[in-house]
């Protein structure tokens, strides 16, 4: 079970035991809570007094997830989209380019 890594070790069984112990502790702490609490107005989301729309209407679609992240890195993604042009000639050009760079670097490194 135990494997040695460079800095220490990794043992999944120890991890699982620790996980179970922590889960039990968390459950015990949770059990201290008041049982009679049933929710009410406070648990609902507050949308400036507007009624909450149904779950079908507010389900976030895939392309909207991480919208902020993608918007923040817009410059990078614009460049990446241009790089992944989907033209087969470009794929080969990348290959030739990488090989050419490796030629230059390798021979330069060996000469120096």
């Amino acid at each position: 079970m135990l494997i040695k890594t460079v800095g220490g070790y990794w043992d999944p069984i120890v991890w699982i035991v620790a996980f179970i112990v922590i889960a039990i502790i968390a459950y015990i702490i949770r059990a201290f809570g008041k049982r009679e609490y049933k929710g009410g107005e406070q648990t609902k989301p507050f949308l400036s007094g507007v009624e909450e729309p149904s779950k079908e209407k507010v389900h976030v679609r895939a392309s909207n997830i991480y919208w902020g992240f993608i918007e923040a890195l817009k410059g990078y993604y614009d460049y990446m989209k241009r790089m992944h042009s989907g033209v087969v000639n470009d794929y080969v050009a990348w290959f030739v380019g990488v090989a050419a760079i490796m030629f230059v670097v390798m021979f330069a490194a060996v000469i120096i």
């Binding site: 990446m80 989209k81 992944h84 042009s85 989907g86 033209v87 087969v88 000639n89 080969v92 050009a93 030739v96």
Partner: protein, 122 residues
Amino acid sequence: MIYNLPFLTVVALIAIGMYAIIFKRNLIKIAVGITILESGVNLFLITLGYREGGVAPIFTNLPPGISPDQIPEKMVLPVPQALTLTSIVIGVAVLALILSFTINIYRKYGTLDAGKIRRLKE
């Protein structure tokens, strides 16, 4: 110089082939480019196997004037020729596959321009 001529041809063929693959947008021309590239590599292999005054390693079919004693020196190890034949056969298979893909792409996309065949991008 004259002995280097085949190698210069190899370089020229590979350069022409790569030029066609990188800069030509027509799928048929890309296929032609791959074939030229392949011919260059095949020519390279077959040139490596050339030995001056060599004979084919077939004992029963020796040319007149060569006694069996000289055989080991005169006979050529036929490995490069075997490699080239194999490579040609593989090349035909690849070419056939590329052309059949091209036919299907033309049916579905209505074009052979690689610049327009890019539904898969980003």
